[in-house]
């Protein structure tokens, strides 16, 4: 039987990530976001990172580890995200000042295009055309082509070296299950990455104990896993505090 992919600590899970690495971070709002692995990466200190995620981190409180914190820690060269600034004019994302100062480069990508670029990278597809973004600022100067009478924008696959995920259940072979909205980007990021590191909420199941029909991400994509300890040692999201508008 294959060796367990469980490692004993978040520090060991992120050890060896080199400067200049490209890392995808799962999660949409709180569910599925690898807060514990991000915190470990803050301590690990790898620099010049390219960070791929839905968002650089919101303006809401309490603040949990996010890409903006990595930027504050001097670790980020570039982000690829569908949110790099707030949509509510009164909000300021913690990341915004790094983009505005030019300290960190930012590639703003429509969310469905981001998901599909990751999916393509994990599927052996180098590029694809999408109707999303045609006629907007993000399409300026870029290749388009008409299919079925409609203009489409060329988008390239987005392979990453690492993916950091948060899953609900796993077995020791690395088969993963996500719960409800926790799934989001996690399965496509797992497939787009060369090395996949997962923080797991439930106690690990022995290999063979997970129903193969219920696996969301097969263990062949997963390399290292850490069980999240209970709070306060482990980070567990709470209900988001709605701020007065």
């Amino acid at each position: 039987m294959a060796k367990s992919k469980l490692v004993p600590s978040f520090a060991e899970a992120v050890a060896g990530i080199p400067d200049g690495a490209t890392i995808a971070f799962g999660g949409f709002a709180a569910p599925g976001t690898p807060y514990n692995l991000i915190r470990a990466l803050l301590a690990q200190g790898a620099r010049n990172l390219t960070c791929v995620a839905n968002t650089t981190g919101g303006a809401h409180l309490p603040r949990m580890p996010d890409i903006a914190m990595l930027a504050e820690n001097g670790q980020v060269r570039k982000v690829v995200c569908s949110f790099t600034a707030a949509t509510r004019p009164t909000d300021v994302l913690p990341f915004a000042r790094f983009h505005e100062s030019g300290e960190v480069e930012a590639e703003l990508v429509p969310q469905g295009t981001l998901a599909e670029r990751l999916r393509a990278a994990g599927s052996g597809i180098p590029a694809f055309y999408t109707p999303t973004g045609v006629g907007t600022e993000i399409a300026e100067g870029r290749e388009t082509r008409v299919f079925n009478g409609r203009e489409h924008l060329l988008e390239h696959a987005l392979p990453v070296e690492y993916a950091f995920l948060r899953a609900w259940q796993a077995d020791e072979a690395g088969n993963l299950r996500f719960r409800l909205a926790q799934r989001n980007f996690n399965p496509v990021m797992a497939m787009a990455a060369r090395t996949v590191i997962v923080e797991v909420e439930e106690e690990l199941l022995p290999t063979g104990a997970m129903d193969p029909d219920s696996v969301h991400t097969p263990g062949i994509f997963v390399h290292r896993m850490v069980r999240i300890p209970p709070p306060p040692e482990g980070l567990w999201p709470a209900r988001r505090v709605e701020r007065a508008r």
């Binding site: 569910p31 600034a85 915004a96 703003l108 469905g112 973004g133 045609v134 209900r239």
Partner: protein
């Protein structure tokens, strides 16, 4: 935006309720961040409408009060919502496959401004701003069968949000189907808007004065 109810005409919930009245039995409707999240609180009567959230939730209902929420379940705004009977969960690429392949009957979004030609802008707060928040808006605007907008009729300073041509970078061109504001329900007609319905207490002349393009009755 102010948290207070709109100063004139419909409240935000009334705006959402009026738009929800347009939803037809059997529709799949995507609700965006902001005022659109109020649509899942509206009573649908005997209509079956499936709410889709871009993060892969197919079939959800109202925001749940503290203590009843499931922290693994959020809508596009990160709010903890309820699941509807018959709901399904997909990953992000499949969620946007649902969107891009034309399965969404209507998408409801907020906006900073919208134009008589059906353009609208909701991802960048200023022309020269660095970065923005596109989220799923461009995919939804380009691919949903109908694009419904929910926004205040004017800015806090009183400038019209319904204009002849968008000044801000657009999210998509010539896609808007229907617009609900605190002043009423409007549709873009190319070189003008048409007032489908005015909110109680809003006169046509008053709506015209607050609109940055011709407004037809």
């Amino acid at each position: 935006m102010s948290g207070a109810a709109a100063t004139k005409g419909w409240s935000r919930q009334q705006m959402a309720d009026r738009l929800v009245a347009e939803f037809q039995d059997g529709w799949i409707v995507n609700l965006g961040v902001g005022i659109p999240t109020l649509c899942s609180n509206t009573d649908l009567g005997n209509r079956d409408v499936i709410f889709h959230s871009e993060n892969g939730v197919v079939g959800y209902g109202p925001v749940l009060p503290e203590g009843q929420e499931d922290l693994h379940l959020v809508n596009a705004g990160g709010q903890n919502v309820s699941l509807s009977p018959g709901a399904a969960i997909v990953h992000h690429a499949d969620s946007f496959a649902i969107i891009r392949s034309g399965r969404i009957d209507a998408t409801v979004m907020g906006a900073y401004e919208t134009a008589a030609n059906g353009d609208f802008a909701n991802w960048k707060v200023a022309v020269n701003a660095k970065g923005g928040g596109i989220g799923g808006a461009m995919d939804l605007a380009s691919c949903a069968r109908r694009v419904f907008l929910l926004l205040e009729h004017t800015t806090r300073r009183g400038a019209p949000r319904l204009v002849m041509r968008c000044a801000l970078p657009v999210t998509a061109r010539r896609v808007v189907t229907l617009i609900a504001t605190n002043y009423g329900l409007f549709e873009p007609k190319g070189e003008a808007f048409r007032a489908v319905e005015l909110a109680p207490g809003i006169a046509l002349d008053e709506a015209r004065a607050a609109t940055g393009a011709p407004l037809e009755a």
